[in-house]
Amino acid sequence: MLSGCASGSTTPAKTGDTAAIISTNGSEPQKPLITTNTTETGGGKIMTSIYAGLVSYDAKGEGKNEVAKSISADDAQHWTVTLNTGWKFTNGEAVTSKSFVDAWNYGAKFSNAQSASYFFDDIEGFSYDADTELTGLKVVDDSTFTVTLASPEADWPLRLGYTAFMPLPSVAFTDMAAFGENPIGNGPYMLAKTGAWEHNVKIDLKTNPDYKGVRTPANGGLSIVFYSSLDSAYADAQGGNLDVLDAVPDSAFATYQTDFPERFVNQPAAIFQAFNMPYYLEHWSGEEGKLRRAAISMAIDRKEITDVIFQGTRTPATDFTSPVIAGYSDALKGADVLKFNKEQAVKDWAAADAISPYTGTFDIAYNSDGGHAGWVDAVANSIKNTLGINAVGKPYATFKAALADRKAKALTGGTRAGWQGDYPSMYNFLAPLYQTGAGSNYEMYASTEFDTLLKEGAAAKSVDDATAKYQAAQEVLLKDLPSIPLWYSNVTGIWSDKVQNVVFGWDSVPLYNEITKG
């Protein structure tokens, strides 16, 4: 079992100038910086820097208690959380159990329309269509609160490092929109000044002197510069204006290792890429569908495409999660279907044709504003050359247009699909995408066997039991192939010769606090 692939030393030498500001790339947050409303990566990396939750993740994606002293339950359903004392927000207010309970209640409340509301849906009292109190949350005293879940979940604490579960100071609730412009947190960093967030330009952070968690900064602060294109960020890194870049643009895939010798990283990240075949299409359900899905999957030469199109910046998939997630396995039963196998692919396709002959073209929908054309064409070509059918890519001008057809169940073939983990757990890669009726299950996969295993995994008393169930659930997926796994996106990062100790976390974001400069 492989739980992580992070490189670099585990105990970085704390040398360098402790006042140095590290500049790094980012993108303009889509919304005011509110813990329960920031679900995209641009705002996410700022939030994890300025907030400390009950738990934080290390480079391998393992949760370490931060504000929490302990999180425990006998039955995986009734949790008791005790807090370390002495934590403060940067405005001086103490971090108490109320800071957590109020923030979670705010995030879950229907009329607040928070993007991350669904993260609270397993806490007792949650409602998707009315304003209700989270009755499962009870403040015992300043440093203790209890959480009652609607059903047992062994890996529930694992998600508590996600942005949505951060505490909020009481001042936030008086005017949340204004608070989101100048958020006050309790993390290793804080806003350099009021108005440090220059929209569309950058946000400056300085170290928080009152911070007392496990991520104490070895530098003086961060300047997160927002780039509209990675190409200009790369040029800035080359020109010495940017210290750390956490994503290399496609145009530099061939050169970044020589441009930044010894100062790059290329390792699998918690990003799963696939294409889905809708169940509402003729030929793609039942026994015939199973055969066709397997045939298509085995017709794709993943290794060659990741090497040629992506220059090794993708890793061929062997499951439905990611190598950085605990419980990942490259030896699941039935994973052979993800290997290029021309003979078997042709055989399965012919067997499906014997049930009902396939006519016409086979297309894969994608949004052409996302840089997907290259690999979609390569996948289509691979299928075409192997099976002898007319396979093509079907471009949509925008993500919005493609999503509309997915939601309306109006696809004529496959569709690009991707998932980036919110928190390092297998459940997060499986439940939202493949559970019957789940939010992002647009292609209408429905399997009671999968649903049962997922539920059993969630309710398991130990993490090991849960992992076994989740792996079994994935073996069901490998048989049914609602989604054809392609590869995991790698995190490709580079840094200048002015900085040291650059280690990337499970979420493709550098562990900023460990970076030293000078």
Partner: protein, 309 residues
């Protein structure tokens, strides 16, 4: 003249309404739900999307949305972006920097373009003229982003003479390189326009007369040749100011400038009606004003052109 100017300004009113209506309609007609698309692969609860749609009036029919926008416009409220910022704030951030960039580019292309074009026209067929033609042909045929990346790589990354991207303060010195990139294509057109115009005027009767009167060559060239050759160039510059402002999108991307082009592009992709329309409305006004200025300049350059009452 005053009456003419007033009439032209009044024409802006129907142009403004027509343009905003059409553009709003086009943004409205883009396929897909803009709110759902904001969230990418991680969709929130359906109730959340529904409430946001109501908040941005996206549940209303087109005509209602348009009048909500126009109503707000007359109260000085241009609406909000999907990130919750006032559109007026976004405009206040984007326009000044783009205006500086565009004016700087306009300055470079007009000064350098007219100078090179003039010399080339005076020395038609000589080495300088031939080189000017080759260079301008190159600039016209090579896409801006190629020129941009090459100049950025050579001057900023390799030589270190300029900053690779424009920093948040955007001082004029950092805008020089982007302005040159932005000006490059128009510079080439101006060289060719001026050259053709100059060489044509050199053979005109009034130039021969001026030379015959015994005027110095300098005076003939500056007063008689150049002034008369500038009419087509000024027309081009007027239209170009508008395209420099909206068309800077490629240059802005390369040098990471948070300007008008990039903002409008992003807003169109998001389907953010109020942002797109507000920006375009200002662009329309700039276009109309620039054209008016050009027409008035005609009269100054060529006394034969007078605007009747």
């Amino acid at each position: 003249m005053l009456w003419y100017t007033g009439k032209r300004l009044l024409q802006m009113i129907p142009v403004f309404f027509g343009a905003t209506f059409l553009i709003y309609f086009m943004v409205f007609s883009l396929p897909g739900d803009p709110i759902a698309a904001l969230f990418g692969d991680r969709q929130p609860a359906p109730g959340v999307i529904e409430q946001l749609r109501v908040q941005y009036h996206l549940d209303q029919p087109f005509i209602v949305q348009y009048f909500i926008y126009i109503g707000g416009f007359f109260h000085g409220d241009l609406g909000t972006t999907y990130s919750g910022r006032a559109v007026s704030d976004v405009m206040a951030a984007a326009f000044p920097i783009t205006a500086r960039l565009a004016l700087l580019a306009l300055f470079f292309e007009s000064v350098a373009g007219i100078l090179v074009g003039l010399v080339a026209g005076l020395r038609k067929g000589k080495l300088f003229d031939a080189s000017a033609l080759v260079v301008s042909l190159l600039l016209i045929s090579v896409p801006t982003f190629v020129i941009g990346f090459i100049l950025q790589y050579v001057f900023a990354v390799k030589l270190g003479w300029a900053r690779t991207t424009v920093s948040s303060e955007a001082p004029l010195s950092e805008l020089i390189l982007p302005a040159i990139v932005l000006a490059s294509v128009s510079f080439a057109y101006i060289v060719r326009l001026t050259r053709a115009s100059v060489s044509e005027n050199l053979g005109a009767d009034f130039v021969r007369t001026a030379t015959a009167k015994g005027l110095s060559r300098r005076r003939v060239v500056t007063v008689h040749v150049l002034r008369n050759s500038l009419v087509p160039v000024v027309t081009f510059l007027g239209v170009d100011l508008g395209s420099l402002m909206v068309g800077a999108i490629v240059t802005e991307g390369i040098f990471n400038i948070n300007g008008v082009g990039g903002t409008v592009y992003k807003a169109i992709k998001l389907g953010e009606g109020p942002t797109v329309v507000s920006f375009i409305a200002v662009m329309v006004v700039i276009f109309v004003l620039a054209n008016l200025l050009v027409d008035l300049l005609y009269a100054a350059l060529d006394p034969r052109i007078r605007y009747a009452k």
